[in-house]
Amino acid sequence: MYTAPDGTTYYVVDGHVHWWDASNANYRDEKHADGWIRCFYDYHRNLSPADYVWPFELYQQYPEERMIQDLFVDGYVDKAIFLPTALTDFYTNGFNTTERDAYMKERHPDRFILNSCWDPRDEEAGLRKLEEEAARYGLKGVKLYTAEWRGSSKGWKLTDPMARRYLDKCAELGIVNIHVHKGPTIWPLNKDAFDVADVDDVATEYRDSLRFIVEHCGMPRVDDFCWIATQESNVYGGLAVLMPFVHARPRYFAEVLSELLWWVGEDRLTFASDYALWSPRWLIEKFVDFQLPDDIREQKGVDLTTDAKRKILGLNAAKLYDLEVPAELQIGAAPAPAAV
């Protein structure tokens, strides 16, 4: 929970966190493993306030205590959602696997929501594994990274026939939250890997059974994402990577957020730090403090109200994951009595 300087309280769900191991000892394919974490580190360094920038070695592998401190002690987060990214071609034990996250979930059961991931190229064996994980962990969500490498294959699409089998399985098992993350490669490699059209297709097909949370709002295809989300009521936007713009590029943050509010709306956007890309503390403080500039409000006819902030910071994700939100943190709750 975050209490703003004006006394307003916010229930906080961090919709996208990682506990990764990108230490040198875990490099399997050195070129790509190193390229991966250094790319993350540049995002971290470029968009974080200076006093939140970590040394590279810590960034490669951070201990459990650090993560707990950053999210739940310093970071105001009530619940954090794990979105694993396997990358087993790059890292010996994977980058951020479900098993790794499960260790943390077991030790802090009330703090984390454990999601898993699947890859249609794992075929029948992957479907069986998903069933087992659903039974073991009570999964309500999965993270799909369509640019994951598997040997010579550099990615996949949600509309691939085998992917549909997995989506059917998710619907059957009640894994209703499908987090989709596009990356820089796909099969075939000559197509736009960031294309979100496949989300449109499956969102229509699974309108009544699944929700699709498009991570990073489809960045760099935020415009195409918006166009889809405005037509598909089961498509949501995860704000990871866009959030740090609030500090580093406030004008662009205002411009893009106002477009998202216009096309997608305040009920289908979810806050995320993408930890350890960024730390939630400063993102939350700056976001709550943030106001859309007058010219943008007037031009675009949208506003970022306190209620909108409450929805984005936690209430929307709480609905997706059936989280119990204390009554006083709900919209419409009576304000807390002034301190005497």
Binding site: P184, D223, W227, R249, Y252, V256
Partner: protein, 232 residues
């Protein structure tokens, strides 16, 4: 003499854009060139991340090669993509004149990059047209006035207008004096009653493209701090 030629080569390179961002690769700091006394040009491409999409990187490398090769006085061109996950493949391929499909055999559907290129051209055209049409409206014209404008009514000496017209040409949209200004990417005029909704969507494309540019520019500056500049 080499420095004069280098300036002309840089000028030619300046016309090459990052397809995603529709901005000059020279202005963005992504490309730089040097030419020796024998007229051999070397172009180095340094992108904002190790993971910029392979096909975007290839497009920039191939476009840079073509632009520099067309400069009078340049006898050969070598393009070098560095610090990138397909640096070696793209560098070898572009210098040998191989296509993208031949660069990554078995990993493409053989249809090349034309569709991707056109996809970005449409975005660039849309963003440029949005800026132009909003400016024309801000100058006091009604929606009807704007939809009635012809290319011949535009001030072609204005650089922004020039850049807009150039994006029309790429898409094969007429730039004849009698051609309507406000058009869809297929060249069909935008109906006056649709102008407002067209602009609302086009604005989103422009805003996203600018935000992407801001992110990529920042990442590039982080990756290649100015004090570490070296010459190629």
């Amino acid at each position: 003499m080499a420095s004069e030629l280098t300036a002309r080569v840089t000028g030619a390179l300046d016309a090459v854009t990052d397809p995603e961002l529709d901005r000059s690769v020279v202005e963005l700091g992504f490309a730089r060139a040097a030419v020796d006394d024998a007229g051999r040009a070397l172009v180095e491409l340094r992108l904002p991340t190790f993971w910029c999409a392979a096909n975007f990187a290839y497009l920039m490398a191939a476009d840079a090669r073509d632009a520099v090769a067309a400069v009078p006085g340049v006898r050969s061109v070598t393009v070098r993509l560095v610090d990138h996950f397909v640096a070696d493949e793209v560098t070898a391929s572009v210098n040998a004149g191989r296509s993208f499909d031949d660069t990554f055999p078995e990993q493409t559907d053989g249809a090349g990059l034309d569709a991707l290129r056109r996809f970005f051209w449409v975005k660039a055209f849309t963003a440029r047209q949005e800026v132009l049409l909003h400016r024309l409206l801000a100058e006091g014209r009604s929606d009807g006035d704007v939809c009635a404008l012809r290319v011949g009514d535009l001030d072609t000496a204005d650089p922004e207008t020039g850049a807009y017209l150039e994006r029309r040409v790429r898409l094969g949209i007429s730039t004849a004096a009698e051609a309507p200004v406000a058009v869809h990417p297929n060249g069909q005029p935008i109906a006056v009653e649709r102008l407002d909704s067209y602009l609302t969507r086009a604005r989103m494309t422009r805003v996203c493209m600018e935000a992407n540019g801001s992110l990529c520019g920042g990442l590039h500056a982080t990756r290649y701090p100015r004090h570490e500049e070296t010459t190629v």
